[in-house]
Symmetry: none
Subunit: 228 residues, 2 copies
DNA sequence: ATCGTCGATTGGTTGCACCAATATTCACGC
DNA sequence: GCGTGAATATTGGTGCAACCAATCGACGAT
C-alpha cells in the first residue's frame, strides 16, 4: 500500500552524530583550522560505527562545515555557505530601499554570471536554458512567467558550475519576490523579458563571453526601468 | 608543517557516484516519485562499495534530491524536474572547491564595489579607509594585519552606501578566513597588500571609477596567487 | 475473496581489513 | 650537533560481509 502519511521520522544514527559534533565544536570552542578527533576515536565516543560517523562527516563536509584531508584529519572550516546567504534571507521585506539595493547587487552579479556561463556552460546547461525559453514563449500566465524567469536566472547561475554562486542567485531571486506584484501582467513586458533572455542565451551558446555580459546588463537595465 | 596549498582535489568515490546518479536520472528520465535501483545493485553497477554509494545517497538526501525509506527504496524528492536538474548541476563539484568558489565570488564582486565606492563614497568613508591604511602601515603582527585587511574591504563595501552589499561583503570575508594560514607572515606579502590598498584608495579619492575597479581586480588577483 | 502470516526485499548499522596520503620518529652521515 | 631521508605510525578512503529493522509481496488458511 501507498499511504502518504509520513512516519514520525525515526532519527538516523548519522543525524544524531551531526548534532553531537556540533555540540562538541561548541563546547570545546573549536574554531576554523582546528581538527576534530580521529574518526575511529569519535566513533567510539559517540558509540556508533565508523560508517555512521563518516556519513555525518560527509554531510557536514558538503555543507562546508568541515574539510577532510586524508592522512591528516577533519578540519573545521570557517563560516558555512548558509551563513553567507543569511544576509539576504533574513532581511527580505524591508521596503523598497532594500529592493533597490538588491537590484544593484543583481546589476553587479548577473552580467558576470552570464559571462561565466558562456565560458563554462556545458551542453546540458544550454539545453535546460533552451527548454525554459521555449516554455516561456508559450506561457502567458503572470505567476507562471515569473517562476520561469527565476528558473532561467537560477539555471544560468548553475551553469557557472559554482555552487556558491548558484546559492547566491537563488537567494537573490527569492528575496526579490514582491509577493503579489505581477511584473508580467502586460504583453510588452513579456516580450521584453523573452527577447532579453533570447539574446543572452544566444551569446552563451556562441561562447561569446563579452556578449553575454553585455546582453545581461542590458536586460537587467530594461527590467529595472519597468519595475521602478 | 602547515601549508595552505590545496591539492589537486583527487575525486572521491562518492563524488563520482553522485555524478553517475545524475546521469542515470537524466538518461532514464526519472522524475519526482520514481525510485532508484536498490543500493546493492547500484553499488555493483557503479563498481563501488555499498559504503561509498551510501555516502553519495546521504549527501543527495541532505540536499533534498532523494528521500530514503527503509524497507522500500530511495525516492526522488525534488519538487520539479527542473529543480532537480539544477541542483544536480552543481552538486557534482564539492568540498575543497569551496574556497575557490568564494574567491570567484570576490573576483566578481569586489572590483564593482570599489567602482561604486569611487562613485558614491562620502568623505567620512574615505577618512576611515585612510585611517585603516595608516594603521596597516604601522602593523606587523599577522593576526592584526588580517583583521585590518578585512576591515578595509568591509569599509569599502560600506562606502557604496548599499547596506546589502556591505552585509554580503562582510560575510564573504568571514567565510573566507583561511584556517590558520598566516597570509601576512612575511614582509613581501605585507607590502603587496599595503600597496594594493594604497592604489585602490587613491583611485577612490580621485573618483576614478575605472581605476578603482582595475586596481581592485589586480589586488585580488595578487592575493589569490599568494593563497593558492 | 479476504485476511493474516511468513519469507523476501530493501534501507540502516556494525565490524573488520586493507589502501593511500600524511605526519612523526629516528637512525644515519656529514 | 644538525639536517636529511627512510622507516613507522597515524589518519582518512574504500571495500566486503554480516546482521538488524522496516516494508513489501506472495502464499495459504479461512
Amino acid at each position: 500500500m501507498q499511504d502518504t502519511a509520513q512516519k514520525p521520522a525515526p532519527e538516523r544514527a548519522y543525524e544524531a552524530v551531526i548534532a553531537k559534533i556540533r555540540v562538541m565544536i561548541e563546547e570545546k570552542n573549536l574554531g576554523p583550522g582546528d581538527t576534530l578527533p580521529p574518526e575511529r576515536q569519535l566513533a567510539e565516543i559517540f558509540n556508533v560505527s565508523r560508517h555512521s560517523l563518516r556519513e555525518a562527516i560527509r554531510v557536514l563536509q558538503e555543507k562546508g562545515v568541515l574539510a577532510a584531508r586524508q592522512g591528516s584529519g577533519n578540519y573545521i572550516q570557517s563560516a558555512t555557505r548558509g551563513d553567507l546567504m543569511r544576509t539576504l534571507a533574513v532581511t527580505t521585506n524591508t521596503g523598497s530601499r532594500r529592493a533597490l539595493e538588491i537590484f544593484q547587487l543583481r546589476e553587479i552579479l548577473e552580467p558576470q554570471l552570464a559571462a561565466l556561463a558562456a565560458e563554462m556552460g556545458e551542453p546540458r546547461h544550454i539545453e535546460m536554458l533552451e527548454a525554459l525559453l521555449e516554455k516561456q514563449g508559450q506561457t502567458t500566465d503572470g505567476i507562471e512567467l515569473r517562476k520561469i524567469d527565476h528558473e532561467f536566472h537560477e539555471t544560468l547561475a548553475a551553469a557557472t558550475g559554482n555552487a556558491t554562486l548558484y546559492e547566491l542567485a537563488k537567494n537573490i531571486n527569492r528575496s526579490l519576490l514582491p509577493p503579489k506584484t505581477k511584473i508580467y501582467d502586460n504583453r510588452e513586458r513579456q516580450v521584453i523579458s523573452l527577447e532579453g533572455h533570447r539574446k543572452i542565451l544566444d551569446a552563451i551558446k556562441n561562447k561569446d563571453v563579452e556578449g553575454a555580459k553585455a546582453e545581461m546588463r542590458a536586460h537587467i537595465a530594461r527590467v529595472k526601468s519597468t519595475v521602478f
